[in-house]
Amino acid sequence: MGKIWLLILLSSVGTLLFANPSAAVAAMVKGSHDAVRLAMELVALYAFWLGFFSVLERTGIANRLAKILRPAVRFLFPGSGADTQKFITLNMSANILGLGNASTPMAVRAVNSMSGDGGRASLNMIMLVVISSTSLQLLPSTVIGMRATHGSVNPSDFLIPCMIATALSTVLGITMVKLSGLFRRRKKRSKTADAPPLTPNGRAAKANSSPLPPQPRTSARAKAANSSPLPPQPRTSATASGDGRRKSGGGL
């Protein structure tokens, strides 16, 4: 992103330097102005939707929604904690309803509740970005409204191609993320084969043994694997067990 930003600024300001130097700063300041105005609008929208989602959480509807969508979320975001799954569910529901601005704060919270791969985005984070980007939604209401104001006879005439395009890009995106996950795992495996084998194994063993009473731990994990949400385990241990599983899988 940083490079693209630099490229855009350099080429644009460079062009304006020769074409119309007085417009350069004016254009950039206008962009900043627009950003402030948009931010004000977005604060209002975020406040409203975060308030609404908070009611959803308090009433337990969020959890029920998460339970309904769990198979899909589990497939797309393996090893994610219960909180993360809930935020992702809310994000996906908002996206599907066409409430893009409502889905953003939930995505931010979902990312915050995931553990990164040491400053690098984990596969689940990448999946979240890709799924939100392909914008799976039932009604692109902005476009419909704009078509109507521009005198379209049938404002929703583009919906069928649009939906097919969205579905296709979503499937393609998911496939590519899953493939890159396979690639990443293989890379990790070859790396661990090169490195002294003690490090990954030692770390994995530590992650596995850290909660002291091992009996309930394994049963909790078995329960998580069999039935459902990583239950009331504290989140840190849930992610640690996820990491441990991934790392030991890579070591084997």
Binding site: I8, V13, A19, V43, F52, T59, R120, T134, M146
Partner: protein, 168 residues
């Protein structure tokens, strides 16, 4: 029809809170209070991206780049009039919306180009913006293949959408 969905969901949620004797008022206050904090994290990214996009458009460089890319777009069956839209869509929602408006006034909303533009806008998202905002509060700085994958997927979706607009 769609106008009813969100208000109906809203009423349903409020009734549930009443039924379950949960304090919806307090919950709403708790939730909305976190919006300012969220925005203070997001705002610098928002401003940085939008400043660059505005000068990109006003300098005419985006138009030049679009002209340069349009032969390549033709290979994928995308009308050359939509290149600028495809270029700006991942960068800025507002910028892309004004291009879409332009397409509608120039070519009409019901023409092939107008419908293609609708599909392109409707089936993709502001990928760059979204990916920066999502990570604005976490310590993750390297996004890996997230943006390339998202861009490729939405672009291929747009290609398919434009092809479908011919037959559907």
């Amino acid at each position: 029809m769609s106008a009813y969905i969100v208000p109906a969901v809203f009423i349903g949620v409020l009734l549930t809170s009443l039924f379950k004797k949960q304090d919806a008022y307090g919950a709403f206050i708790d939730g909305s209070g976190s919006a300012i904090k969220l925005m203070t994290g997001v705002f610098p990214y928002l401003l940085t991206v939008m400043t660059a996009v505005e000068v990109f458009r006003q300098s005419g460089v985006s138009g030049v780049v679009a002209d340069f890319l349009s032969p390549a777009m033709r290979i994928f069956g995308i009308p050359k009039e939509l290149t600028e839209l495809i270029l700006l869509r991942p960068l800025s929602g507002a910028g892309a919306l004004s291009v879409l408006q332009n397409v509608f006034t120039t070519y009409g909303a019901d023409t092939y180009i107008g419908r293609c533009a609708s599909v392109v806008y409707g089936s993709s998202e502001t990928v760059f913006y979204l990916s920066t905002i999502y990570f604005s509060q976490s310590d993750v700085k390297k996004l890996g293949p997230a943006v390339p994958i998202a861009l490729t997927a939405t672009f291929l979706g747009s290609v398919a959408g434009c092809a479908l607009c011919r037959v559907l």
